[in-house]
């Protein structure tokens, strides 16, 4: 479960996130939408522990991300929008590296890696250095790394960047399956059809403030006020 309680993030005098509160329950797929520069990545980076909130607090499975960062991160998986990897490591080495940081046993890791590289159709690329990878291959390795420790919370920033349609489908199905199995998924995306297809609840952020957060059912009735399209609602709200 992810809980954001009155979270504010300032960069100097600029308020990037303003008093944001929301909760994503276990097993819930939450779609986080918003125009460029609205504060989506800042919010995600705070949840992942890369930014510290200026005020308010973030709880991951009940653990404060600032006071108990290790416990909070232990059940968290973060998938960034730009999947930077250590260039000189092979994909497999990177996966073992990440597994080590989560203190996973070698036997368990070996089993997980074989299963996941097969699932994400990575093939022989896993034994090449990541400096040779395409954006899509980097993204696949990053997603595999995120799933190694069987997280309870997945925070994903723009999962579709650089993925071909087949890979994108595998990733989306995997995320949906994870949420059905009880994982809380917090996904930022610009793709409105993807959000509509996968998310149980959708939030829209604009200028650092959450201007909309509701279930698909409520969204459907809201959409009827326009032309029945999420795009129209989004454009109207973020105008």
């Amino acid at each position: 479960m992810i809980q954001l309680q009155s979270v504010t993030k300032k960069f100097g005098s600029f308020v990037a996130i303003d008093n944001l509160s929301l909760t994503v329950q276990a097993g819930e797929f939450f779609g986080f939408l918003g125009p460029n520069g609205a504060g989506k990545t800042t919010t995600i980076k705070m949840i992942a522990g890369l930014f510290t909130p200026t005020s308010g607090r973030i709880l991951i499975n009940g653990f404060d991300s600032v006071k108990n960062p290790l416990e909070a991160k232990q059940s968290l998986a973060y998938i960034p929008d730009q999947p930077f990897l250590y260039d000189k490591l092979t994909g497999r080495e990177f996966l073992y590296f990440v597994g080590g940081l989560f203190r996973l046993s070698k036997e368990f890791l070996k089993e997980q890696i074989e299963k996941l590289i097969d699932h994400f159709e990575i093939g022989d690329w896993v034994d090449r250095r990541t400096e040779d990878y395409s954006q899509g291959m980097r993204q696949r390795i990053t997603i595999v790394a995120a799933l190694l420790h069987q997280p309870k919370v997945i925070v994903v920033d723009e999962p579709m960047v650089g993925l071909d349609p087949r890979s994108a489908r595998i990733v989306l199905d995997t995320l949906k399956k994870q949420s059905r199995e009880g994982v809380a998924v917090f996904m930022s995306t610009h793709s409105l059809p993807v959000a509509e297809e996968l998310c149980d609840r959708i939030g829209i952020i604009k200028d650092g403030s959450l201007i909309f957060a509701d279930t698909q059912d409520r969204l459907r009735s809201y959409k009827k006020q326009y032309d029945g399209k999420l795009e129209s609602v989004f454009l109207e709200l973020t105008k």
């Binding site: 000189k88 490591l89 073992y96 080590g100």
Partner: protein, 569 residues
């Protein structure tokens, strides 16, 4: 080359540089003023030191103008090689690996224009610090002879800059040649070959220059040692730019500028010719060599066999805790798979070996009271300088080299302290091992003077430990504080403004240490010379002061680095 496009791009590069350099935020101003003070202090120190050394060697041991300028020639040779090597390594990154080049190549910009832009970028980036050091040293040297400001300006602009430019041009020519060869025999082999050739060149230079023989030959003419003894120069010296510059300075110091002018003219003409040759070669070959680098990289990165297990393999079990194991293995592979890293370390180890084997055989005859003490202090300073350079080159970039991939560690359940300590220990141990070796061997000739008294050896080893610890901690800490996660080239990181500032701080620390140990060391050797007893207890007070300063700076470095890692990423 289309000049308007060149000027257009250059204009925006300058604007970008000015905007990042002259940032008017309060923190940046404070940082800038701090840098200015340290740079200013260092510049003044370099000036005073050069001036005093010139005064000392010409007025105390009276080595004479000829021998003094031959030593300058040797230093200029080392300087030339340093600029050359620095430019080869940095220009590989700027000319071939820079995303800016890839971007410009997709635009209607002529290849030579891109080459010149990146060459200037490379030359200014890798040579500015060396130029400033050389500038202040030359100024200190020139002020001893009382040269007017316009003479000094001419030496800087018309001789020093062309001297460095010549070295840089040679560097890119060599690099383009290397790329062509690498296309056939592989990058790793080419770099190993190049390192071997440079080491051989330095070895041969000093073997045939033979400073000891030069001193002995010159001493025969004592006290007429200011005369021109060019017949003592080895044959090959006349082909070296360092010799031309030193020869000009020699004649200038003797008031015979007209005899030195041909040498100055030769230097300028050869530099001009080399610039033209470089442009012509780049015109024909730069783009082709750029393409070759991709081919070489692709060929060098074949997939690993799935079942082959390598040394330190991630899949092997380890006695270390899982997180430490992962972090150490990651450091190991990222270091040894980056040619710029292991080649540079290899070169430094070989140079240390050469240095160690040459000083091991030093035999002091106690004819002059001050000589062993002076030599000890010089060797101590050299050992410290080495620890400082090693830390700067290999420890300072450690945090920055995490690069954009740092998200992985920051978003995972790893204590910042665990990450920081494991990283620091790797850097510290590498520097400490090399420094202890250097200090051990540089103390050996002095220990032979008093075989029963080992206090000097223990003192040296204690200093080696303290120096390594402090230098590593300062570089680790300030490397974190000035971290640049966008830059992938360790050499560029180690020659950034923050790195230079750190280097200067470590040099100031080193100077303070040398000042602290001067009195007991002089006392120790005086006692041996005059056959008196030197109580070992007299070494204790300076040791304690030295330890206190080192511990303070180590703590300062580690704390500032640790805090900087907690910043937003």
């Amino acid at each position: 080359m289309t000049i308007p496009v060149f000027v257009h791009i250059l204009y925006y590069k300058i604007v970008s540089f000015l905007k990042t350099t002259f940032d008017l935020r309060f923190v940046s101003i404070v940082r800038g003023v701090g840098s200015l003070l340290v740079f200013g202090g260092f510049a003044a120190g370099a000036y005073i030191l050069a001036n005093e050394i010139t005064r000392y060697v010409l007025e105390q041991p009276k080595i004479g103008l000829f021998l003094f300028h031959r030593f300058i020639s040797m230093m200029l040779f080392v300087f030339f090689v340093s600029v050359n090597l620095g430019n080869i390594i940095v220009s590989y990154a700027t000319l071939y690996r820079s995303p800016e080049v890839a971007y410009l190549l997709t635009k209607p910009v002529a290849y030579p224009t891109i080459f010149v832009l990146k060459f200037l970028d490379n030359f200014l980036y890798s040579s500015t610090t060396l130029f400033l050091v050389a500038f202040m040293v030359l100024l200190g040297y020139g002020s001893y002879f009382g040269y007017p400001w316009y003479v000094m300006t001419c030496i800087m602009v018309l001789l020093l800059i062309p001297f460095m430019l010549l070295s840089a041009c040679l560097a890119v020519l060599i690099l383009m040649g290397l790329m062509k060869i690498a296309g056939k025999i592989g990058f790793r082999r080419v770099m190993t070959l190049l390192s071997g050739l440079y080491l051989l060149m330095v070895y041969l230079f000093f073997k045939f220059s033979n400073p000891i023989r030069l001193i002995e030959e010159t001493a025969r003419y004592y006290p007429n040692v200011d005369i021109n003894l060019a017949r003592l120069d080895p044959f090959f010296a006349r082909f070296l730019p360092s010799h031309w510059l030193a020869e000009f300075l020699f004649f200038l110091s003797r008031g015979e500028v007209e005899r030195g002018l041909p040498m100055a003219l030769l230097l300028v003409l050869v530099t001009a010719a080399m610039v033209v040759v470089t442009l012509l070669v780049a015109h024909r070959f730069y783009y082709r060599s750029w393409l070759i680098t991709f081919q070489v990289q692709a060929e060098s990165n074949t997939p690993q066999k799935k079942d082959s297990v390598r040394f330190f393999d991630f899949r092997k079990n380890s006695i270390l805790p899982a997180q430490i194991e992962s972090l150490l293995k990651k450091e190991y592979f990222t270091f040894f798979r980056e040619p710029g890293q292991w080649i540079h370390l290899g070169v430094m180890i070989v140079l240390i070996t050469v240095f160690v084997s040459s000083i091991r055989g030093l035999n002091f005859i106690l004819r002059v009271a001050d000589l062993p003490a002076l030599t000890y202090l010089v060797l101590f300073a050299f050992g410290g300088f080495l620890a400082s350079s090693l830390s700067l080159r290999f420890v300072f970039p450690l945090t920055s080299l995490e690069g954009q991939s740092f998200w992985a560690i920051r978003s995972m359940p790893v204590k910042i302290g665990t990450y920081y300590v494991s990283k620091f220990l790797v850097g510290f141990l590498a520097v400490a091992i090399l420094a202890v070796v250097v200090f051990w061997f540089s103390n050996a000739p002095f220990v032979r003077l008093t075989p029963t008294n080992r206090v000097l050896l223990w003192f040296g080893l204690f200093n080696a430990g303290m120096l390594s610890l402090t230098m590593s901690a300062l570089n680790m800490g300030l490397g974190g504080y000035f971290a640049n996660f966008q830059e992938k080239n360790p050499i560029r990181i180690a020659s950034s403004q923050g790195a230079t500032l750190t280097f200067l701080i470590t040099l100031v620390y080193l100077i303070i240490l040398v000042a602290i140990i001067t009195v007991p060391i002089t006392g120790h050797f005086d006692a041996i010379f005059y056959g008196r007893f030197f109580p070992p207890g007299r070494i204790m007070p300076p040791t304690l002061v030295l330890a206190a300063i080192s511990v303070f700076l180590t703590t300062f470095g580690l704390v500032i680095g640790y805090r900087s890692l907690k910043r937003d990423f």
